[in-house]
Each structure stands twice: as C-alpha cells, then as structure tokens.
Symmetry: D2
Subunit: 335 residues, 4 copies
C-alpha cells in the first residue's frame, strides 16, 4: 500500500498517522521527494481500510498494491476451480456447458416443453425463474414456490440440473433441491444474502451488477467464499453504458480479466446482455472464443406469450440452430 502525503504535512499530523499505522503488522518505508513525501507499507495490507487512511488530513492519496480479495484470487489458488454437478456436468474444466430455459416458469406444460426441447438441442442444464425481480410492482412476479416445484418436476423428467434465482434470505430452505442458486444482478451487493449463501455447499451463480466493477464482483464472491462456500460461478450479463442500441453492453473483456485474476469459472448471459434475439448467436460465439466456461440463454416455447422477457427469448427452433454452431465452435476452440 502506497500513501502519498500532502506537501504541507506538519510533523504533528505525520506523527498521528504513523501512530495509526503502528497498529497493523506492516513495515513503513518513507521517501521524501522534492515535492512529495511517500510512505510504502509492506506486509499483509489487505486488512487495512484504504479509506480510513485517506481520512487523515496529511494524506493526499492511497493506492493498494495488493488486491483486496484473497480466497477468489488466482495468486493463492493457481488452478482453475472445477464444479461438478449431480449429473456429472462440470463447469470450469474447459468445456462450455449450455444452460437454457425461459425467463419465468409459467406452467407445467411450458417448462416441460422447453426442457425437453433444449435437452434435445444439446443444453445440459435448465434455467427458469420462480421468483422474479421486476422493475414494476404491477408486472408478473413469478409463480414463486409453485414455480420451484415445476422446475423440480422438469428436472425429474429430463434429468437436467436446474438453475434458478433467489431473492430473499428466508427462501433459502426452498432451494434445497436446486442445483445452482442464482444471485441476480440487482442483488450482487445484497451482502446479507451473500453471507447466508456462504454457509451452503451448493454452487452459486453470481451475476455481475449492471454497474459493478470487476473488482466489486470479485469482492462479492469473496463474501460467499469467506463464509465457507467455494463453489462460486461468475456470470457477466452486460453492463450499463451510454449506448442505447442494445439493452446493456456485454463486457467481453471481463472473461479474460476474471480468469486472470481468479480461479473461478465465468459464464456469459448473451440474452440479457443485448436484449435482442438476433445477437444471441454472435455474442455466444464471441464468448466461447474469448474463453467462457459456459453460456446461459433464454428460450421460450412461445416468446410472444411470455410473461417476462419475451422480447429477448429464442424459440426452441431458433435455439436448436444456434446450439449446433455453439457446439461446433466449442469443439474447435477447446480441442
């Protein structure tokens, strides 16, 4: 950690800062430049709050050298984390499993029809929302518990593991038979929820917040891992920018950056990233090419009757055509 001091630092204020720093197990080096004085802290500085140091009057700026995350950091865990599901599907082993399904579970007929279709096309996991975060209180909020039951029915009939979103700590028990619990973008910094999920042994699909930095995403994963759950999967699903031609902007660079900084797998959601069905295929291919560990794609048996997100869903027929190309591209890149 590097601390740049203000030019007018008095001896007295300096002494206060030095006393403050003495509480930590770090060595302090000091240089005096022609215009600035700089302190360098050496040791295990990730427990030190950079802001607290910045509160000292004599401090002009503080820069971390060490990353503020530890358990998610590849430096301390050089090998890729590989997560294995009940049916043997692995995430993080170099393969590119495809998760597909509707935005919301709407009926038994719907979820079974979609589940069977996507399985036939090559998807190996089923997604579907039972509890839905909607911008409007007047919009369909999901089938709730009934939706979870329908997902479990679909799992039983097709053998596909299921991925579905949690929105509230008190629902955790309901998710006992869910294979992967999704934390939505709006809850990426719902720290109370993250802490509780840290006590489970189940894989967590952690979606990046719409305006969360990659470092903040890593820190949210650190919350889960700090609690003891090391099965975290990142999901990049588009960030908010000034561009309006797409709903969000897929940050494709997040794939290589996350994989460099962390050992955890990275999955891409091209459906939410763009909000445009015709972009699902090019963005999925790009994600595979850039090193993604999986894809999560919205498929609805009748998008125009969908109760949510219909505008960005693919039909099973469209998905089938795309899926073939994704599998071919995976073979090419991961051979």
């Amino acid at each position: 950690m590097i601390i740049v001091l203000k030019r007018n630092a008095t001896r007295e204020k300096m002494a206060e800062l030095e006393e403050y720093l003495s509480q930590f197990d770090v060595r302090v080096n000091k240089w005096e430049g022609t215009q600035e004085t700089v302190l360098g802290l050496i040791g295990d500085t990730y427990v030190i709050d950079a802001e607290a140091i910045g509160a000292h009057e004599v401090v002009s700026s503080v820069q971390r050298v060490q990353e503020p995350y530890k358990k998610v950091n590849r430096k301390f865990h050089p090998d890729n984390t590989v997560i294995t599901l009940e049916n043997g599907i692995k995430i993080g082993d170099g393969s590119v499993p495809i998760i597909a399904g509707p935005c919301s579970v709407e009926s038994e007929e719907q979820i079974l029809e979609v589940a069977e279709a996507i399985k036939a096309s090559g998807a190996t996991m089923l997604r579907g929302g039972a509890f839905k975060p909607r911008t409007s209180p007047y919009a369909f909020q999901g089938l709730q518990g009934e939706g979870l039951d329908l997902l479990l029915t679909a799992k039983k009939k097709t053998g596909l593991p299921i991925v579905t979103e949690i929105m509230r700590v008190s629902h955790i028990d309901l998710f006992e038979n869910v294979d992967i619990i999704q934390v939505g973008a709006r809850n990426m910094q719902n720290f109370e929820l993250l802490k509780e999920l840290g006590h489970l042994k189940k894989p967590i699909l952690l979606k990046r917040g719409l305006s969360s930095t990659i470092e903040e995403l890593l820190m949210s994963a650190e919350y889960i891992m700090a609690g003891g759950n090391d099965k975290v999967i990142f999901c990049e699903r588009g960030i908010r920018t000034f561009e309006t031609a797409t709903r969000n902007t897929l940050d494709i660079s997040a794939i290589p950056i996350l994989k460099e900084k962390s050992h955890l797998p990275v999955i891409i959601d091209p459906s939410h990233a763009a909000g445009i069905p015709s972009l699902v295929e090019p963005l999925s291919l790009a994600s595979i090419a850039a090193g993604a560990d999986g894809l999560i794609i919205e498929v609805h048996n009748d998008p125009k009757k969908a109760l949510s997100d219909g505008a960005q869903s693919l039909t099973p027929l469209q998905f089938d055509g795309i899926c073939k190309n994704l599998i071919r591209a995976t073979e090419f890149f991961r051979q």
Copy 2:
C-alpha cells in the same frame, strides 16, 4: 403506447398481435405509412408490459406515452407530499432540514458527542449506520443491534429523530423506534425488501442506486407506495460515471426532474456523492439552490479514527461552519 411494426409484417402475424392486444381494455388505432405501419394504443396502458409486445415478431419498437408509475406520479397527486416526524420536523414543505451524523455508530461516547455537536450546529435529525453494507467481507460490518440501541440512546438524550439503514427483511422489527428507515443504494432494487417496507407506516429514505435511472428510482418508490406506505423520500447520492476525480457524480438535475415527475420529497447526500470533504459545502449549497428538500451529511467526531467512510466525513467544527452557510442560503432561497 405506440407500436411500430416491421416492414415485412404478414397478415397472419399481424392478426396474432391484434388478438394479443384484444385482451386489454384499450382501443387500437392503425396508420399505414409509406414505409412503416404504426399502432397507437389508447386507454390505461400502464398495466401492459412493453417487452411482451416487443416479443411479437412483427414488432419493430414499442414506446410508452404514459409513465409506468402511478402512485408516485405528480399527474395524479399535484400537491407536494409533506412528511411530519414526531418532533414536528417536516420534510417536503419547502424547508431544508439537515440530517447529520457518522457513517457508522461506533460507541456511545462517539454517537452522543456527534449528536450533541450537530444539534448545536442546527441539524434536526441524526444519521448513523448500525448495519453497514461493505464491499469487503473483512471490513467492519457495523455494531448491528447494539448500534441501533446506541442510536435510540442518542435520540432520547437529544430529541433528534434518527435515520438508519436496513439491510434485511428479518430485521424490520428491530427498526420499530427508528424515525426514518433508509434503503441504501445497493438495495434500491431489492424488491423483496421494498415490498415489506410498503406494509409499514414509517417514512422510508430511498437512496438511488449507483447506476439506476430516475425512472427506476420512481418505480422502486412505486413498490413501496403500492404496498400502502405513502411516506417515501428520495435520496440522490451520486451516480457512477467515467469520471474519477470524484467518487461518484452528483446528478444535480435529478432534483428538478424528480420534483416535476413526482410529489415526493428529494434529499441530497453530498458526502457520498463526491467522497471529498471539501466538496460538501459547494454541493450542499447547489442542492439548496436547485430545490432540494433536505440534506444528509456525514460528520464524525474524529474522522481519522472512523471505522468506515472517514475520508469523506467532516469534523463537528467543519460542519458547524458549513451549517451556518447552509441555513443562510436556505433563508435566501426559501424566503
């Protein structure tokens, strides 16, 4: 609601869309242009999901004419909402009450010292965090229940109403004696929490998410009001942009825009907006000038020992100097 159709719309697909629209209580007008066909929906369209319409293949784009919010809309409630607290303080009546206090409650001595100091300077409410949302799981997470107790002690001793943040539905009972419950920026779209707060009768200070649009902020307030709680106060606290000279960018325009679109009061948090103590005064004065209904400012008795956000806190002495100017400016603008 205006629906622009694609140029190659077949009669069959058109009929499907028209049938879909027939389920709503709206009249559909149609024009055929040289290049486009446009449908205009007349009636109570705010229950219609624009996305669901966009899912029809024949649809090129959908534009709302009516706002998607109703209870927070000034059109249906032309007068300002005025919220009155126990001690008679009003929010939304043209005055500019000042809420001040530390980021985190740290000890009885600290909170009492700050509470008395800010009261002497002219603040009329006390803020302080008991449950703290921190980016890092290794950072101080607040004194939790004990912090709430200390706030109540300070309230008892000084008579100042208290404002503090909630992070979890199961904590609601603990907030019984809190005067204003704050929903933090990271929870602005924690819809499960908003729904529960909608069942209370207590004022809710709803902070704008770091990358939430003004319309999304209005929709989150609509969640609370839809549940029956009409005491919502907006809080603009800076948005995330590309600029790095300040921690966030204060969206000063949000004041006149929110007050034009809604009847609810708008409070500004200059401490979080900039993250720089020297900017608190100019941003506060600017907020008063632009029509704000209140200010919430971080003050710590010893910022350099603060357990969180010390770098942006004012000392009681600094606050006292600024407070005088804020009160003078309020008299000038609200005379």
Copy 3:
C-alpha cells in the same frame, strides 16, 4: 415520426404546430386518446429536425420511426460494401484481413523491421502513426511528414498497403499515396474533416468516438458518404465506461448491430480497446467469432522503447503466435 402532445395543448398552439408541419412533404395523422393526443407523420421524415419540433410548447416528446441516415443504411443498400485495395486485398467480403504495426512510426529501421515481421506472420496491411493525437502537449507528437515518408518506404519494400491517421484538413494532400486514411476516435465528430474526406475516393477508416453511440457513428459515416465517398470502414476500438480494469470497454455487440444497420465493413481494434497485450488474442478471436471484417493490432519491435502506446503493443514474436490462431479461427468461421 411520432409526436406526443401535452395534455393542456390549446387549439391555438396546436394550429401553430400544424402550420409548421405543413412546410414538409408529409401526411399528418392524429389520434386523440383519453390522456394524450398523438400525431403520426408519414412520408420522407429524415429531413425533419426532431428537436425543432420538440421546441413547440405543445409537444411532449418526439420519436423517429425512420433512421436519420440514408446512404449508410442497409435498408437502401442490402448488399455488403466490399472495398478492394491496390494489392487486391478486400475488406467486407467475408475475409478477416489483419492490419498491424506500431502506434507511432519512429525510424526507418523500426518501421521496416515491424513491416517485414508482420508480413511474414500473415498481416496484409501496415499501420503506423505519423501525426499523433496525444493527451499531453509535452508527449511525442509523431514524426509528421517524415513519418509518412517512412511509411511509403515500408510500403514500397514490402508491398503492404498503409493505414495512417489524419488530424487536420490542410494535411490531406500529404495523404495522396496512403491506402486507407484513418480518422481517430477524437475526430469522429470533427465534421469539417469528415466533409473534406467525403470529396476523396480513398477508403476511410472511421474510428468510433470513446463515448459515441452507434447511431452517431453511422451519422459520421453519412457525412463522408454524403460528400460522395462511399468507401467507409467502421472501427470499434472500445468505449468509455465506469470499468477501470481495462482502458476502455470493447463493445463487441457493435459488430452485429453495425452490420445489421449498415452495409459497410466493421473492423476491430483490440489493442486500444483493452490497453493490455494479453487481451489482444481473446478479443481478436471474439471479434472474428462475432463477424468482424478485419482487425487492427499494435505491434512494435521493442515495445519498452516505444515513443507511444508501448504498454499495449505486442512484440513481433507474440504477434506471430497470435496471428496463427487468428488465421485458423478465420478459416473455421468463414469456411
């Protein structure tokens, strides 16, 4: 074009608007809803200034249905534009030519060494800056005219067509023997420069501004095409967002969006997009997968001695390794 009127529109103000609209060759349809009145304009509306209409007091909002660009619009030119250079290289025909070279031309030795190396690796065009836009007036500003001469020398020796940036109208004559003239991101809306380039017959590589929308990029290309020059190539090179892990954020979605809206080719610059050498390969592969018509990559014979942008340049050896993979991926995707 759709015009939503305010609720309190008086007959008199309405008449003023209708008179204003009568100057254009459009038909005006009108609906009166329960809450709003809407006008629909049918005809050739792209010459109408939406803002001028918005200036009428009675107008609440204006929405275009037609795009504001014509010559770059795929609707009026369904086939891809293919640009053929002197040496037979085509851009826009489904191939993925690779342009490579240093940020700045620094010496004859440097540019020849790089040119020969990249040619041997498979690049088919040479890039290099003679006139350099630098944030600081104290930074190296390029070798200027001498730099252009060195590029022409390199072209002569290697047969590689050259791509280099123009910064000033009065320099146009100097670019006579340049194969593709680059307009940098900072000049994307230097309309005076665009107008002059519209009078040439030479291909123009138009880089997207750091915070320019896709529609603005299309409009800047329209400036060049409106002048008579139909050889425009788009270049996406990263946009400015809140993320700081990469210098900019590559907007990979811009590839399919631009190719859907326009017939012009789209090239990607992964070097500037990320500012990190290790990201050049994954972002290039992603671009090929998403449908890019070419790549432009920074290569320097000795990056650590580069006078500009060394930090993001590849060595010829690194480039050679990557180039092989890019060519293989191109064969896979464009077979």
Copy 4:
C-alpha cells in the same frame, strides 16, 4: 511516480528498466516488500510517459504522484486568472457574467432582437453560432461567414462582446474581431486546433467533451497555454451517462474540482447540460451556489422556429424572469 513491479521480475529485466529510467533526471528509490517490489521516482516526472514505463515487462502498474499539467496547475499559480474583455467585463474575479443568445445566428433581425433583449435583461455577452457542428449532414450547418458578420453587427449595435465557435484551423483569421473563441465539446481533443489557438492572444472558451475526464480537460487547456495563450476559460456543459431523463448530466462537482486544481475560470452551460428549458433556472442557481464564474444560456426570439436547438432555448421573456433571480443569487453568494 510510483512503479509497482511484477513478482517474477528477473534481474536482467530489472536492469533494463533501470537503464531506461537513467535517461531522466530523477532519483530512483527501491523497496522490496514481502510480495511486491516498488520503485519511487523523485524529481520532475511530468515529462515521463507513464505508458512507456508500463511497456516494460517487469512493470505491474504505474501511478503518477505529480499532476501531468503545469501551466494550468494552481500549485504553480495560486491566484485566480482574471480575464478582462474590451468592454471591461471581467471573468474570474468573483462576478458571474451571463452570456446569452441563440444556438445559431439565423438572420440580422433575429440576432439583433435577441441581443437587445438579453442586454436589457442583464446579460453582458452575446453568444451565437455561425459555424455549427451538427450530427447530421442534412441539418442546417450555420450561416458560416455571413453569421460572423451578423454577430459583429450585433456587437456594434449593442456593445456586447461576442462568443462564437470555431471548427477549423483555416477559419482563424475570420475570428479576428470575435471577443471569445469557443472550442466545442466535440473538438476538445482536436489537438491541431488547440495548438493554433495557443498562438493567439484571445480568450478561448474550452468546452468539456461529452466523455472527457476533468484531467483531460485540464490537459487540453495545457495545450493552449503551452502555445503561449494564457486566457483559457473552462466550460462544463454536461457529460454523457446512462441517464436518459436529461440529454446529458451536468457535473456540478466539476466547478469546485476545477477551481481547486486550476487557476482558470469555470463557466457553466445549463442549456446543453439538460436540454430542457425548465431546468435552466435551477441548474444556473446551483452553479452560482457552487462557485461558477459565469453562465452561458441559450435564448431565441422564437424557439419553435429555431434552425437548431430550439427545444432547449428560452424565450427572451422567460430569460428575463430567470435573469433577475440569477442576479439576486449572485449578489447573495458573492457579496
């Protein structure tokens, strides 16, 4: 300047870096931490290109301690720069002069009518565009030279100094009798233009680019001052963010930040910042409260017939009402 090295730095690579650094007149301090090695450079480092250092393989990150600008830096010029115009108006002396006028000069009648009206209301400078940067090549491009002549006529009749935008180096001679030359947001990094303006003795109003950081704005001013022209005035006119309720987001914090970092005056353009006439007054008052050195406001005698930007222009009557309040607020804040 602080250089953090990678953990696996070999002696050989280190020696290369040290040799590179030896060319500069700086002293290099070195610390070896448990995990990182850090170099601190002491001396006049603003001539060192941080990127060039970043190009060395052994370098992990580079942080400047000194600012990269010198002539615009308040550290080396503690007093405010005050610019005095022909008619005695001062900018930067604590007053808040108001510049007003139409977006575009359209006719003699129009510009005279507006000039006389704004003068009567209390404005002390006239703005008006002769050369107009328009997104569309089909939009009105300004009256060009004729527009400049009309501005000079208005200046002669009213005595108001004039402010107008330049778009091209070759037009500089035409601006001989213009009092303040404006550089538009789109040309803030048109470095060739900035260099030429640096050779004049005339005040330059430098508008911040839509997505330019404050540091970049300071560097663009440094270009002008480096050429010898020390009469630079900053203009904040809104930045591009994700928010769509306003055309841009006024960065009100830019006022105190720019005034802290630089000695140059700062003017605010509330018309372009919001794009909404009803926001001009609150944003102008906020700007005065935050310390602005002036305002530039769009006023048109008949906004609904304006050839550009009518939607955001005030009528002379509206301006007159607002102007009174701005003058009162100035008296209050600058007494």
